[in-house]
Amino acid sequence: MNPGDLLWVGVGAVLSVMILSYLIEDNFLFRIASHIFLGVSAGYLVILLAKDIIWPLFLQPVVFGNWTNRLWMLIPFVLVLLLVLGQFPRFTGYARFPLAFLTGVGAAILIGGTVLGTLLPQSMAIIDLFDASRWQAGTTVPGLAIAEAVVMLLGVVGTLSYFHFGRKLRVRREDDRSERPFLLEAWGKVGQVFIGITLGAIFAGVFSSALTALIDRILDITQFVKMLLGGG
């Protein structure tokens, strides 16, 4: 390993130790390392935005384009100007226009993606599980396929019921005002089980990812120490 690589491996190892020192207590070294990462990330992001977005998508058409290009660029220019003006207390209201534009476009894109990319395909997938022809054609035993379909249906209905916040239509007692219909309440309990299992799986995944990152750091530090001792 050449001296340049050794230097960067050393810097990485030292910064890793500084971050890991948080295990003992919040301390000066941890804060220094955090601030270094934040500062470097922010600086890099500014350069990246200028290089990948502002120059090619905004300035390039203005500088090298014809008048039609420049007129088109007037729209983002005005929106940017309003956003910048919004940073001054006197003109705060002007920033609402570009933000409203962004929010509206973002919502439209997200809703379209959610409906077309998740809601409809996932609903169809649930329905397809009950296709008898697939039970026979599949590699799994038909009984297991049916059981899988039933469990899937229970999970979907139960989870949707859990997030249903309706109330009873006919109120006979005062307590009924704060209670959901019995059927929804029962299905909601079933849904709780599925939600708990899902959250448990996500937690295990989060821990697994963190453990993988920790292993990588430990191996890097070990490698650096070995190199310093002449064993690497």
Partner: protein, 560 residues
Amino acid sequence: MAIIICPECGAKNALTASRCHQCDASLVEVEPVQPFNFEDSGHLPSAEEDLPGLLNALKNDEETQPPAEPDEEKTDDVDGVSEESVLEEDVPEWLLRIRQRAQEEKDALGPITQKISAAEASLLEENKEMQRQNFESWIRQIKKEAQDDEIDSIDAFVEEEMPEWLRKIRQSRETPETEEQEITPEDGEQTIPMPDWIGTRDVEPLNGQPKESDAEEESSQGLPEETIQVSTDSAVDEIPEEGSGVVSDVVQAIGPVLAVSPEEEIQADHLSAAIAAESMPKGGQEKGQKPRQRLQRILFNLGLILIMVLIAILGGRSQPSGDSLPPQNEAVIEWAQDLPASATILVVMDAQAGFYSEISMIAKPVFENVANIEREFFVLSSTPIGNLLFNRMINELELDTAISAQDLGYFPIAAYGAFGLGGDVSANWRIAHLPQSEKALPIADYDGIMILADSIVGAKAWVEQLSALMPDNQLYLFLTAQAGPMLLPYWDSGQVSGIISGISEAAGVEAALSQSSLIADRWQLYQIGIWLMLVVLIVSPFLVNHNGNTTKGKGGNEPG
């Protein structure tokens, strides 16, 4: 016929009376006045005959004009128990209007009005002390009446209407409310303990005059830090000490309720949340820990790290067999092995640098099979560091020949980038006759789209958009373990052609492809780490109980 108005009680007495028939006060030096009767204005002397016309004009004005809303100044006077306002309450409306008109038109005053005004001025100037005493007795009377029912209702009102943020602040300080309402009258100033954020604002005292904050004076008097001072000048400062109870009750009632606007309340909510967050222990890092408990934790953490370091140094290599892989993993392997020689592949980088090690371990075995000089790669990032991570990963593969990879740029919002790619936005730009940017999204059918993601949200945005807008393209997900479980349904629904999630699945893929031993070097360490996690999860509740930490969780439903 002239009469004498008693300066004590205001009763009318005969001209010959030497003492008031009502209060028995002396009337010797009191000047007689001509009685004024509104009903009998027709019998006024000729000099006053213009008065009915004046009154009629005033009446017409009153009928034509809408009832005037009480202005702020007047309201403040009432709230501040102003002396003038108290006297004016006893004056009829018509007389007030006459006075107002008389101030504007001096010649409108007749002799009778002049005499009445003179008498009132005389009363105000000469008998101010008597009026003050009357005012004090009035305050006492109010106090007596209020103590039984009004104070209770005010307390109930304050308790009910107390904002949630104020209740939280008081609860967080664990200070009894009665102690907070202590008032220490001293040199005409009363101190009321208030939250910090209120102490920074201008507080309107009872007389409506803004009170200057005077921290030095406050500290010199040895008052608590969380107090503000309320001036009780003007009418209130003349109230004797026993009357301060009424003031304190009124201050208690109107102080925080009337002085806070909704915006300030929202700011106070944020501030109190920030204070609560600051004061909360941070993941067991609280400063006030017992030394023994702290030492235990440090030793425990260092012990775990030490075990893993020792295993990293001394541990051997192990790897799960790649014989029985999940179908989503096998689909990825098949795709990588059957890819055409001149394939076009889009790589979407949605991973942060912190998860690079995991992502690279998952994707490298596949890239070793896929990457060659004849294939064309397009790299699109929805994280700032995405392109750098891709280049580092390709460099670490140590391929014999460099591959062709074109950087399509960085899209800060994954959904925007995916929609732009799938929605064929580039064509729209061409309609606008814009110059073709080198960062423009290519319009092409890819032989495969590889999405490398470390979060559920980012990967989901790409899958949703691309599977809906580019259904003919095959999507392959390379996910960290934390993103995998929530994206598996997209494999079941057929929207995704293959998934590799987490180091455990990647270990099987690596073993099946037999390309490298990157994961095998870490697999034993990973297994030990999982066991350690289980031990920590089991042991830590006992450690917490052993240390006497009785902090109860705030979540969950409380019975009842």
